[in-house]
C-alpha cells in the first residue's frame, strides 16, 4: 500500500479531519468538523450527551462511514483513496491495514471473553501483524505489565474487575503499537473506585508521548492531561484551546453552561 505523503513532513498533523459530516437518516450528528492533532498531542473532547463525540471517534477509524469530508492519518486518507479526482472506498483488507495504526478504547471494554487477558492482547499481533506466538506473548506480557496486570495474564475477562478489564483493553491496543489512540469515555462504565486506576494508566501513556484523542466526562483529568480541550455541541466544535482557557474561562456561553451543569452533578 502506498504510504505516499506520510514522510512526516515537519509540522504535518498526525490526524487531520476536514469538514466531516455524518448523518443517520435525517439526523445530522456531525455538521462539519475540522480538527488537526499534532504528533504527541493530547486532545480531550467534552460536550453534552448526543453532541456527536462518539460518532466523531468512530468515524476516525471508520467504524462509522462519514457522510462527507475526509480524514487523514499521517497524510494517508482513511477509509478511501483518491483515484483520479474521485474518492473510492477502500477494500476490507486495505481498511484493516489502516485501522492497525489507530487504537480504539471502548466505553464497554469489548474484551474477547473466550480469550485470556494474554490471549486478548496477543490475538491481533498474531493474526494481523503475523508475529510468532513467542514474540507476541513477550510483547503482550510487557504490555500487561505496563498496565499493572502482569500477574493476571492467564485470567479470563469475566474474572477481572471493570477497571482491570479496561486496562487489558488498553494493553490490547498498545500491543499493536498504534500511531494514534482514541478513548471513548474509557472510565464511564466503571464504579467510581475503579476509575483512578484506568486514568493512571492513561496519564502514563500521555507522559510517554502517545498521541491521544480522549472523549471524557472527567473534566479534571481532561484539564490535567490534555494539551488542548475541545468542547462539542450539536455536531460542531464550539470552542477549543488550552485547558486553562476552555475549562477555566470559556468564551462561549454554551461551554460555560455545560461546565456548570457538570460541576453541579
Amino acid at each position: 500500500m502506498s504510504k505516499a505523503g506520510s514522510g512526516a513532513a515537519a509540522g504535518q498533523p498526525l490526524l487531520k479531519i476536514q469538514d466531516l459530516h455524518k448523518r443517520f437518516g435525517l439526523l445530522e450528528v456531525l455538521q462539519g468538523v475540522d480538527l488537526d492533532v499534532a504528533r504527541g498531542e493530547k486532545v480531550s473532547i467534552i460536550g453534552p450527551s448526543g453532541s456527536g463525540k462518539t460518532t466523531l471517534l468512530r468515524c476516525i477509524n471508520y467504524l462509522e462511514k462519514p457522510s462527507a469530508g475526509h480524514i487523514y492519518i499521517d497524510g494517508t486518507l482513511i477509509g478511501e483513496k483518491k483515484v483520479g479526482d474521485r474518492y473510492v472506498h477502500l477494500t476490507d483488507r486495505e481498511l484493516a491495514r489502516e485501522r492497525q495504526e489507530i487504537g480504539f478504547v471502548f466505553q464497554r471494554f469489548n474484551l474477547f471473553p473466550h480469550l485470556t487477558a494474554l490471549g486478548n492482547v496477543t490475538v491481533a499481533p498474531i493474526r494481523v501483524l503475523g508475529l510468532s506466538r513467542e514474540v507476541a506473548e513477550l510483547r503482550g506480557r510487557e504490555m500487561l505489565q505496563k498496565v499493572g496486570l502482569g500477574h493476571k495474564a492467564d485470567e479470563y475477562p469475566e474474572r477481572l474487575s471493570g477497571g482491570q478489564q479496561q486496562r487489558v483493553a488498553i494493553a490490547r491496543v498498545l500491543a499493536m503499537q498504534p500511531k494514534l489512540m482514541l478513548f471513548d469515555e474509557a472510565t464511564s462504565a466503571l464504579d467510581p473506585e475503579l476509575i483512578g486506576e484506568v486514568l493512571r494508566v492513561m496519564r502514563q501513556l500521555a507522559d510517554e508521548g502517545a498521541t491521544m484523542v480522549i472523549v471524557t466526562h472527567e473534566i479534571q483529568f481532561a484539564g490535567d492531561v490534555s494539551d488542548r480541550v475541545i468542547f462539542m455541541d450539536q455536531g460542531r466544535i464550539v470552542e477549543q484551546g488550552p485547558p486553562r482557557d476552555v475549562l477555566g474561562r470559556p468564551s462561549e456561553a454554551r461551554t460555560r453552561e455545560f461546565l456548570k451543569h457538570i460541576q453541579d452533578r
Partner: protein, 227 residues
C-alpha cells in the same frame, strides 16, 4: 396373554443381531446427514448475514422453504425428483441411503442455519467492532473472534438438533432405506410379534439417544456456569 420375557428368551438371539445391524445404518445416516447439515448450515448462515441483498434473500428463501416442508416431502423430492428431471444421466449410484443423507442434510442445513445465525447475532456488535478496530479484516474477525464464541453458544441447540435427527432417520423407511425401523417392521410382521419387536426397537433408540441427551445437559450446565 403376552408373555414378553418368554418371547424375548426364545427370539432375542435372532432379533437382536439383525436389529443391531440395521441400527448401524440408522447411525450412519444420522452421522453423515449431521455433518452435511452443519456444513450447509454454516454456509447458509453466512449467506444470511451477507452484505449483499441478493445472497441474503436467497438464503432466507431456502431457509423458509426447507422449514416449511415436512421432512418426508423433502426426502421424497430429493430421492425421486432428480432422476426424473435428468433421465439421461446415470443414477445407479444414487441409492436410498444417499438420498436419505442428502435429504436430511439439506433439511437440517436450513434448520441449523437459523441456529447458527442467532448464535452469531447473540454476540454484542462490540465484539466485531473491537476486532475490526485492531486491524482484523471482517473475515478474520469472523474466524478468530465471532465463530469461536458463537460455537459455544450454539452447542446445546445443535446437540438437541442431533437428537431429533437421530429419531427423524426413522422417516427414511418411507423411501425404502433398510434402517432399524424398516428392519423392525419386517421382523415384527413376519414373526407376528409387533409388540415385542417394537418395544425392543424403542429400547435401542433410547440407548442411542440417551448419551446424546446427557451430553447436551452437560453442555447446557457449562453454559450456565460460564455466564
Amino acid at each position: 396373554m403376552l408373555d414378553l420375557p418368554e418371547i424375548y428368551t426364545e427370539n432375542i438371539h435372532r432379533w437382536l443381531p439383525e436389529l443391531l445391524y440395521y441400527s448401524l445404518t440408522t447411525l450412519k445416516i444420522a452421522f453423515f446427514s449431521f455433518l452435511l447439515a452443519v456444513v450447509f448450515g454454516v454456509l447458509i448462515a453466512l449467506c444470511r448475514i451477507s452484505h449483499k441483498r441478493v445472497i441474503r434473500t436467497l438464503a432466507v428463501c431456502s431457509i423458509e422453504v426447507a422449514r416449511g416442508l415436512p421432512i418426508v416431502v423433502v426426502l421424497y423430492i430429493v430421492y425421486f425428483v432428480p432422476p426424473q428431471l435428468f433421465p439421461g444421466l446415470d443414477w445407479s449410484w444414487f441409492d436410498d441411503f444417499t438420498g436419505a443423507v442428502l435429504g436430511l442434510g439439506i433439511h437440517g442445513g436450513a434448520i441449523l442455519a437459523e441456529v447458527f445465525r442467532s448464535g452469531i447475532e447473540a454476540l454484542h456488535k462490540g465484539q466485531r467492532e473491537a476486532a475490526l478496530s485492531l486491524g482484523m479484516t471482517p473475515a478474520k474477525a469472523m474466524t478468530h473472534i465471532i465463530l469461536p464464541q458463537a460455537t459455544r453458544i450454539v452447542l446445546p441447540p445443535v446437540g438437541n438438533y442431533a437428537i431429533g435427527l437421530l429419531k427423524d432417520t426413522s422417516l427414511c423407511t418411507l423411501i425404502g432405506v433398510n434402517e432399524i425401523m424398516n428392519g423392525a417392521k419386517s421382523i415384527a410382521f413376519s414373526d407376528y410379534q409387533p409388540m415385542a419387536v417394537f418395544v425392543l426397537v424403542a429400547a435401542i433408540y433410547f440407548v442411542m439417544s440417551y448419551p446424546l441427551s446427557l451430553l447436551v445437559r452437560a453442555m447446557e450446565r457449562r453454559m450456565r456456569v460460564a455466564h
